[in-house]
Amino acid sequence: MNNQRRNVLKTGSGAALLSVLAAAGIITPGMALADWNKAAFDAKSMADTLKAIGAGTPVDSKDVQVTGPDIAENGAVVPVGVSSTLPNVTMVAILIEKNPNALAASFTLPEGTEASVQTRVKMGQTSNVYALVKSDGKFFMATKEIKVTLGGCGG
């Protein structure tokens, strides 16, 4: 991404600006991030992220789980996942409290897809990791701390 576009994306927002950019040839229609929830991925704190997702204040639920090991040998690749036994789960997301932007990834699950998704994320430091789940239109959450450890030779 060139710096020009980076800057406009940083400062600008909204459909009007995007169409202007498209008209100017800076972005082509195919690459306009129509669905990508920019506000949610740009949010810094947990609270702002949840707000941008429209999750309000999720209820802690023992039927939601952050899956994966408690210790990461390296923060560049941390295996994490979300799983839930709640009914009618339509969305799950992974949030990392101490990352510069809390939201790592979100997944929309059509009917028939199980509430069990695994991926790998970067973590700058030891942090609480949250699994967010939308079930029957309501948001639920679970958390666990994942410890990021340093390696031997130190870089």
Partner: protein
């Protein structure tokens, strides 16, 4: 051009598990190069998986998904030989689509 994905899909007792490995830099936009200049962000933003023509997963990634992303999920249905198609798009507008048969 982006390198192909590696897609594995296996059906077990009516549930298909899909595992995807993607070749992508996933540059955060917050890293500095050796000269101290900020390296621009370059990461996958969206990923969709289809079983035959039905969407079975749509995902949005931020830059904190690891380099060479890995993804695993499960859906009901799907039979041996059915087609799984995975597509991604990054913030530079680059896209890539690969497919695999359920084994």
């Amino acid at each position: 051009m982006a390198n192909p994905m590696k897609i594995r899909a296996a059906n077990k007792e009516g549930v298909t598990e899909v595992k995807v490995l993607i070749s992508h830099e996933m540059e955060t936009g917050q890293r500095k190069d050796s000269a101290g200049a900020l390296v621009p962000g370059w990461f996958i933003t969206e990923l969709t998986a289809k079983h035959n023509d039905k969407v079975v997963l749509s995902s949005e990634f931020g830059p904190s998904v690891s380099k060479n992303p890995y993804l695993a999920f499960k859906f009901k249905g799907g039979a041996k030989g059915d087609k799984i198609v995975v597509s991604w798009k990054d913030n530079k507008g680059e896209t890539r689509t690969d497919e695999a048969a359920i084994g």
